[in-house]
Symmetry: C2
Subunit: 275 residues, 2 copies
Amino acid sequence: MSDERAIGVFDSGMGGLTVLRALRDSLPQEDLVYLGDTARLPYGTKSADTVTAYALQATRQLLRHDVKMVVIACNTASAVAIQPLAKQHAPLPVIGVVEPGARAGVAATQTNRIGVLATESTVKGGAYARAISALAPDVQIRQQPCALFVALAEEGWGDDAIAEAAASRYLKPLFDDPGTAPDTLVLGCTHFPVLAPAISRVLGDGVTLVDSAATTAESVAAALAEHGLATNDRSNGTERFFATDAPERFARVGGLFFGSPIDATAVELVDLQLT
Amino acid sequence: MSDERAIGVFDSGMGGLTVLRALRDSLPQEDLVYLGDTARLPYGTKSADTVTAYALQATRQLLRHDVKMVVIACNTASAVAIQPLAKQHAPLPVIGVVEPGARAGVAATQTNRIGVLATESTVKGGAYARAISALAPDVQIRQQPCALFVALAEEGWGDDAIAEAAASRYLKPLFDDPGTAPDTLVLGCTHFPVLAPAISRVLGDGVTLVDSAATTAESVAAALAEHGLATNDRSNGTERFFATDAPERFARVGGLFFGSPIDATAVELVDLQLT
């Protein structure tokens, strides 16, 4: 049994390429189709209704490429749209990044105090807090919106003095009181792994950073096995990239997140409002 | 003669409220209708075709409120969409922010060296460089994209140490060689006036910052007079606010740019894709 259809992955833009990278590393034989809704990014400051509508359009576009599974590689969209998506397209497996991130955070904490760093709308929606509480009701959760991290990551300034200054300003209040300080921080936005080294320098040892990209890839592998959807018959899968705007910028900034250069001429432009 | 119809103003989001504030200050008797396309902001990283399509939708929405003039309070949209807009809706007067900003920059420079700070797509489009060159062919122009300034302004971090560090990193290369350093910087994004104090602290005296909001208001006043469209019969005009998403955030962040609190319950939600 080998299902050679591709796995579809979408995000508001390029940040989800950190998830694509984790999928490429752990599932080298799978074909991957990635869609970045760059014409309408960011989702993180938009309402739940708007983000859900955009996520439904993105999924319809991926299904045109006959994908066997959809991965929502965007925390904001995972938080608000996973249930409507899964319901509308059942039995298609739909995997988000929130649940795997919450699970990894719960596994990592020793003190039962977890901090969640995310965009404003992810924090406001409270999806991580709900997912963590459902797994471990005793865990104390503190959320911190970190809007500037997105811009810093996209500017390529994710690992220097300005990133440290921003991290310090956002995070210090969480660590002021050792009696309530978390020992684990979940990076609840796919842009944020780029800032992990700067965040670690600010916080020092003793705080574990959880990047949901790797744990999401594990969830995808498990779902492929569970549904008998894995590709087994070849060694190397391919990646195909779609963007709703500005393929050149997608390729340039996206390379920062994917960890390998992306060829701008291979990024295909698509209009979701027409699908 | 008094034309009591409102002036329509649109922007990708809240930054254009710096222009609305200048209009309110200089034309207190005019009614103002402001539309922020918050569901699709920012425009500054999107392509010319996409931004033009969005600007045409925004203008159609404003015309439903019977506006007598349209002000494009967004540098990106002014740069790429003013001609298609003016052509499609002639003889409706359409005023952008680029031409007034370029004119003010040319008037301010003593050394004939002007720097333009803007978003990536405004810089790439080159509209300021063209507008300045058309007015003063001898002026040397250097452009600098400053993407992080948008996020800093929206986070309310526009006037502190992190803003200074970002300004220093963006601007120092322009001033390294005194023989080519500009004496005038045009703030080519409506978000950037919020950062003017931090920029001035980095650059010290001797560099003039040109904020196009005030000069745009002058252009609007001149166009009202020229076309016999001014309101003369009352003392206080009103403001009406529309946003395509997240009215609460529009009001909260918008207050930073408008300079006065905005009542979130008075911000009306509108869907441009249906207009």
